[in-house]
């Protein structure tokens, strides 16, 4: 197993740029994302995240969980710079993706978002056909060859476990799909860009159990190729998915570590109370 040992003590995370020159850190366990002292504040003085340090391992599912308002979504939005779209948000601290700082104003946020895709809580199919929804990101990126788009279309729809349901209606309006299908379409739309990281913010909160299972199954399969960070819609879902987990409470990171550890034998009292359903 990889990360827990390096990821547990968040305050002494390896400096990502030192990876090659630091022999004490095994490069095989190099985390995909390293977050250092991240705080997010709003103009009105409220704080959404307080001094978070966390490593996110590559090709694993990292679950961010905790009660509502804990800052999980804010953290996801920091990872692909969607907070930029909101006025009056101040982000301090550093986030490294493969050792490269992605928080500075000089970072090309548009290019970053192609590497770090996101699936939202509410499925939002764009007002186009199924096919156009999936190839939209590729077209934005300037991909013109139709064979490339076709290839990505089938591949990503298959990866999101929705190909069998939509392959004969690719030119139907995306809004005509059911809610569960729409959400898997949204996942396929992100996968079509072949990002390195996939962020999911309560992706199954509006879905029925069968659709939820399909999404979860597909996450287990695609983590081979992607680093996945998910805010689950329930503790149970978090426990089902987590290779690695982090518990957030009121803007603070209480505890993080291997999924089994956090959900079965949490060290912190607050984590235990939440996991066992005593609050939340």
């Amino acid at each position: 197993m990889t990360s827990p040992s390096s990821a547990r003590n968040g305050l002494t995370n390896p400096l990502p740029l030192a990876g090659a020159g630091d022999p004490t850190r095994a490069s095989s366990a190099q985390p995909k994302i390293v977050i250092e002292n991240l705080s997010v504040q709003y103009d009105d003085g409220t704080e959404s995240l307080r001094n978070i340090s966390l490593s996110i391992p590559a090709n694993k599912i990292t679950v961010l969980f905790g009660p509502a308002g804990g800052g999980k979504s804010t953290l996801l939005r920091a990872l692909n710079r969607l907070n930029d779209l909101v006025d009056g948000v101040r982000v301090t601290g550093k986030i490294y993706l493969d050792g490269e700082d992605i928080t500075g104003p000089e970072v090309n946020a548009v290019a970053l978002r192609r590497r770090v895709g996101m699936v939202f809580a509410q499925p939002v199919p764009l007002p186009m056909t199924v096919r156009q929804n999936v190839t939209y990101g590729l077209e934005l990126a300037g991909v013109r060859q139709s064979w490339k788009k076709e290839e990505a279309l089938e591949k990503s729809l298959r990866a999101a476990a929705i190909w069998d349901e939509v392959h004969d209606r690719l030119d139907a309006p995306a809004a005509s799909l059911s809610g569960g299908q729409q959400q898997r379409l949204c996942l396929a739309r992100v996968l079509a860009l072949e990002p390195e990281v996939v962020l999911l913010d309560e992706p199954t909160s509006g879905l029925d159990p069968i659709s939820t299972a399909k999404v979860e199954d597909s996450l287990h399969v695609i983590k081979r190729d992607y680093t996945i960070v998910i805010v689950p819609h329930s503790v149970q879902q978090g426990a089902r998915l987590a290779d690695h987990a982090a518990f957030f409470l009121q803007g603070e990171l209480i505890e993080h570590g291997a999924g089994q550890e956090l959900f079965v034998t949490p060290k912190h009292k607050k984590t235990e109370d939440y996991v066992t359903g005593r609050f939340g």
Binding site: N80, L85, R113, R114, F120, Y136, G137, L140, S176, V190
Partner: protein
């Protein structure tokens, strides 16, 4: 009074109100159609006026109105949509933006004759365009812009914010998002505003009175710097300035103008209802 009776009384009053408001429209349109229709003929629609405009056709006025409407569209539509995109998508919500918005709303309320005077001062005299199609189009554009900007901005704002966030999160730039998602979604609403604005431009007399319109011009305008006849002004002239004018010609002219404006209205309605049907997919 029993509640039943009140109910019936209110219902009757509301019905009367609807009838009173719609009846005049039907009467006006019907009256103009009945009296004007006999005047409509191939010659009327395609010939020059004769005998001091008491006979012949209204061809130069029709062409003039087409030129003025088209020219106004060419100026006001791109400018208005661009301004609306700026206000809706780029402008920060600050004092300056609010002031601009208030100014636009107020511009829409200015009487059209004031625009006419302004056009006379700026375009005709100061810029020396003379009484010309250019001066008329520019004046009508200024009058039409507020309508186009505010309806287009409203249409843009009606596009769900989530579409924008999704497009940005898929690696879109702001402009790609606007061009590929926001504008296509807002287009029917924008077109409705554009047509309603141009319809007003086509029917107005006052703004072109001092800037573009010729009392009588027995030929078509040759350049953009020529004056032109136009339907609304022609109607004003033959109704008030020429003695012994056959009623038929006046009403025939009114009917042509009315048809022109109403068919633009019809197109706007069609666009809107088609967009609404499409939205339900």
């Amino acid at each position: 009074m029993s509640r039943q009776l009140t109910q019936r009384l209110v219902f009757t009053l509301l019905t009367v109100a609807v009838v009173l408001t719609t009846l005049p429209i039907f009467i006006v349109v019907g009256y103009i159609a009945v009296i004007g229709a006999p005047a409509i003929s191939g010659e009327f629609l395609s010939a020059m006026p004769r005998d001091g405009m008491r006979a012949g056709g209204i061809w130069p006025a029709i062409v003039g109105t087409l030129y003025l409407t088209l020219g106004t569209g060419l100026i006001a539509v791109p400018l208005g949509i661009a301004a609306a995109i700026y206000l809706s998508e780029y402008a920060k919500d600050n004092r300056l933006t609010r002031a601009i918005r208030i100014a636009i709303i107020n511009l829409a309320g200015i009487p059209s004759v004031v625009y006419g005077l302004f056009g006379l001062g700026l375009f005709v005299l100061f810029l020396r365009f003379g009484t010309s199609i250019v001066a008329g189009c520019l004046t009508l554009s200024i009058m039409t812009l507020p309508v186009i900007i505010s309806t287009a901005e409203e249409a843009l704002r009606a596009v769900p914010q989530s579409f924008r966030v999704v497009s940005i999160s898929l690696g879109g730039t702001k402009w790609q998002t606007i061009r590929r998602v926001v504008l296509p979604e807002a287009l029917p609403g924008i077109l409705t505003g554009v047509i309603l604005g141009l319809e007003r431009a086509a029917g107005e007399t006052a703004p072109i009175l001092f800037t573009a319109a010729a009392f009588f011009l027995p030929r078509l305008p040759g350049t953009l710097f020529d004056a032109t006849m136009a339907l609304p002004y022609h109607l004003f002239v033959i109704s008030t300035q020429v003695p012994g004018m056959p009623l038929q010609i006046q009403y025939g002219t009114a009917l042509v103008l009315l048809t022109f404006v109403l068919s633009m209205n019809l197109i706007a309605t069609l666009i809107r209802s088609r967009a609404r049907a499409r939205r339900q997919w």
